[in-house]
């Protein structure tokens, strides 16, 4: 079955995969998804704490900042395993994104890094409602403006904020408990709420970075988060395929298993091929992490490929589960919903492909 094939000379990847499997066995992903959805919260605190305890919150945070300082290959292996296990806490957006963002700065991030590693929720405020980059306004040390699509907004201790001050981008933090900060939540398709955070003259922390350092850090954070999302999507795709192969191989109609019908077999083969391509595209990106220009392109390709594969495979998987697939009690629908959510996070395939093409043709 499809897997992201990567060199693993010191077995770090295997250990990470095992450790996800262990957590997955304890914290039933599907049950957690449903519980979190019913509670209308943004994450499951217990699972999140377990993930932090395993060191994943700081997986890609530099060692100098107390993180594990691991690279693209380890990130990909972990995220793929999370996808497979349907562990749907917002790892990519709440662990990877702030880790890379902070790690890229030439600033004192020790306190923030310590909190992050310890399982604190530090969402980044930067997106508008349509997903575009929307800096808030910083003036006299106070923040005003709003950000949307914020993961973990209800559970946040501190927000990291992309703002503009005197026409220049700056990165600051703000306490979640600040006066002048309000959070509105809407349900997300993957069972976690997404917040809108509205600030009015909220007192900001000291400026962490300014100018090109901020945009560079954001670029890096977006890139690594996309890579993690791509790996998670590839994991979802592969696992949804396996589940569907199992189901159709056991479900009998007209005295034959569904999977013995040639039309179903060919469709499953096509789904497998999509998952294979998703995995190899993510592997390709992971191996290019030390070549910035090639990496940037490879990540665009991988996120687009894995997003298309995961959404298409899970849609077909739901269909191949027949009426059962249309019920909420069947886990396959959760894979579909999770795939849609991650596919729509940080750029849908069409947008990523066009960015790839633009970069290539500009080169």
């Amino acid at each position: 079955m499809p897997i992201i094939l990567l060199d693993d000379p010191d077995s770090t990847l295997a250990m990470l995969r095992d450790s996800v499997a262990t957590l997955g066995a304890r914290a039933d992903g599907a049950a957690t998804f449903r519980r979190r959805r019913a509670a209308a919260v943004d994450l499951d605190p217990e699972t999140w704490a377990s993930m932090a305890a395993a060191g994943w919150a700081g997986l890609v945070l530099p060692e100098a900042a107390g993180g594990m300082g691991l690279g693209a290959a380890e990130l990909v292996a972990l995220a793929e395993a999370l996808g497979r296990a349907l562990l749907t806490e917002p790892f990519s957006t709440l662990a990877v994104f702030p880790s890379v963002l902070l790690g890229a700065l030439d600033a004192d991030i020790d306190a923030l890094a310590e909190a992050l590693i310890g399982g604190a929720v530090l969402p980044v405020l930067w997106q508008g409602l349509r997903g575009e980059v929307r800096p808030l306004a910083l003036a006299d040390g106070r923040l005003t403006g709003e950000a949307h699509l914020v993961p973990g907004a209800q559970s946040a201790q501190v927000f990291l904020v992309l703002a503009e001050e005197a026409g220049e981008p700056v990165l600051v933090s703000v306490e979640a408990a600040s006066a002048g900060l309000r959070v509105h939540s809407r349900p997300g398709i993957d069972g976690a709420t997404l917040g809108s955070v509205v600030l009015h003259d909220a007192v900001a922390g000291p400026v962490l970075a300014r100018g090109a350092a901020v945009t560079d850090a954001f670029d890096q954070a977006i890139r690594m988060t996309r890579l993690a999302l791509a790996a998670e999507l590839a994991g979802i795709a592969s696992r949804a395929l396996e589940i569907t192969v199992d189901y159709t191989s056991n479900r009998v109609q007209f005295a034959k298993t569904i999977a013995s019908f040639q039309a179903v077999q060919h469709r499953l083969v096509d789904m497998w091929a999509e998952a294979e391509f998703a995995c190899s595209s993510v592997a390709n990106a992971a191996t290019l992490a030390d070549q910035p220009a090639a990496f940037a392109q490879a990540v665009l390709a991988a996120k687009a490929r894995a997003g298309d594969a995961a959404t298409a495979i899970t849609r077909k998987a739901v269909h191949l589960h027949g009426a059962m697939g249309f019920t909420d009690q069947c886990d396959i629908g959760l894979y579909l919903k999770r795939a849609i959510a991650l596919n729509a996070t940080l750029g849908q395939p069409e947008e990523l492909r066009l960015a790839f093409l633009d970069a290539e043709r500009a080169a």
Binding site: R130, I189, F261, V264, A323, A344
Partner: protein
């Protein structure tokens, strides 16, 4: 004949369309138009149900002597088209569309006298008990048993995918009355079963949208009077297949993709997507698919209008329609962009677009009513005459 009735079939399609549309538009409550919910329960639409019943327009195809409009296929198409165009809600229609026609054709005089008026009054709300956990597409393998004991049948078994059973009080049940029939479909009987009978338990099954469109129905020693058998004991298979008739055309009626396309258009307008030629290109494809679904629907409607009967080929509409519905809703999520992460409806200038609701709903029509794979199997034999070996 109901006082409001007349010989509708004698009118031109245009005249009938105008009369029907005007009254419906004036009488269907605004808050029930273009409902987000595809399958509202009885209480939500009771007002509209009773208005139709009072007018005598609740059941388009029943003969007028039984309180129907007696429409022929051509007029029935007009009825369905205008209903969709005006955004009227789907009403619980198993009594009108299934039990009623079955009793009118195969029921005893007593069954007709007792049941038909109670359907029209809304006193009886029906559901359809065909599918079972191991007999979905393959109905012949159903196992719910009905064993004769004196004047009664004792029923044991389980039904599943029973649409709106939790809001119904009667079920049209297929049960096995002969386990030893040489062909499995020969031992099946149709029974009318009161869902309030002892031994019946109904459990809703939430769907992908977390709504309870359908249910499981458990039957544990449920006793049903023998007079509630429809047609012959062991003769239920033919009855179950007979009732569809020309109504199979409506499985391919363009209303769902049409509704979804208006939602896509609303979202695209609001988000400026029409300024993007790449979107225009994809939208144009969907728009013309819908347009041509209309032409194809008309090709089959024409057969009915000229008094013909429909062959197996009509299910091409269902195939195309269900897959188009899916493609439209997938494009809607693409236009939603990052907002496809939301589960709730998306605000647009003038209201909301239920992008995710439609996307999830669109998973269903390709499965229910005979999965698209089964339809293709049937078409390959019945229309193309392809060999088995």
């Amino acid at each position: 004949m109901h006082p409001e009735q007349q010989d509708w079939n004698a009118l031109s399609d245009e005249d009938f369309r105008a009369i029907f549309r005007d009254w419906v538009d004036a009488n269907c409550p605004a808050h029930l138009r273009f409902m987000r919910k595809q399958r509202p329960v009885f209480d939500e639409v009771a007002e509209w149900y009773h208005a139709l019943a009072r007018k005598g327009w609740l059941s388009p195809v029943w003969p007028q002597e039984w309180g129907g409009m007696g429409l022929n296929a051509a007029k029935h198409i007009v009825y369905v088209e205008e209903w969709a165009r005006l955004g009227c809600p789907r009403i619980p229609d198993h009594g009108i569309g299934l039990t009623g026609p079955l009793l009118i054709e195969f029921g005893t005089p007593e069954q007709k006298d007792f049941f038909l008026p109670r359907i029209l009054s809304g006193e009886h709300v029906w559901c359809q008990g065909y599918s079972e956990p191991n007999a979905g597409s393959d109905l012949a393998s159903l196992r719910t048993s009905a064993v004769r004991e004196g004047d009664e049948f004792v029923i044991n078994g389980q039904k599943i995918w029973t649409t709106l059973a939790h809001c119904a009080n009667w079920i049209l049940l297929l049960a096995r009355t002969d386990k030893d029939a040489p062909k499995p479909q020969n031992g099946i009987t149709v029974l009318l079963v009161d869902l309030t009978s002892p031994g019946v338990v109904v459990r809703p099954i939430p769907n992908l949208r977390e709504e309870a469109d359908f249910c499981e129905v458990f039957l544990d020693d449920v006793r049903v009077p023998a007079k509630n058998v429809v047609g012959q004991v062991n003769g239920g298979w033919a009855l179950a297949k007979a009732v569809l008739g020309h109504e199979r055309i409506f499985l391919g009626a363009p209303s769902r993709p049409e509704y979804a396309l208006t939602r896509l258009e609303m979202l695209a307008e609001d988000r400026g997507a029409f300024d993007d030629p790449a979107f225009r290109s994809r939208y144009a494809k969907l728009r013309l698919d819908l347009y041509d679904l209309g032409s194809a629907f008309e090709r089959f409607a024409k057969v009915l209008r000229e008094g013909g009967t429909l062959g197996a080929d009509v299910s091409v509409l269902k195939l195309f329609c269900s897959e188009l519905y899916q493609r439209i809703t997938e494009e809607t999520l693409a236009v939603a962009g990052e907002e496809a992460r939301f589960y709730d409806d998306l605000p647009v200038g003038s209201g909301h677009v239920d992008a995710m609701n439609l996307f999830l709903d669109a998973r269903a029509p390709a499965i229910f009513g005979g999965s698209n794979e089964i339809q293709r199997n049937i078409l390959s034999k019945a229309v193309l005459g392809l060999p088995s070996r």
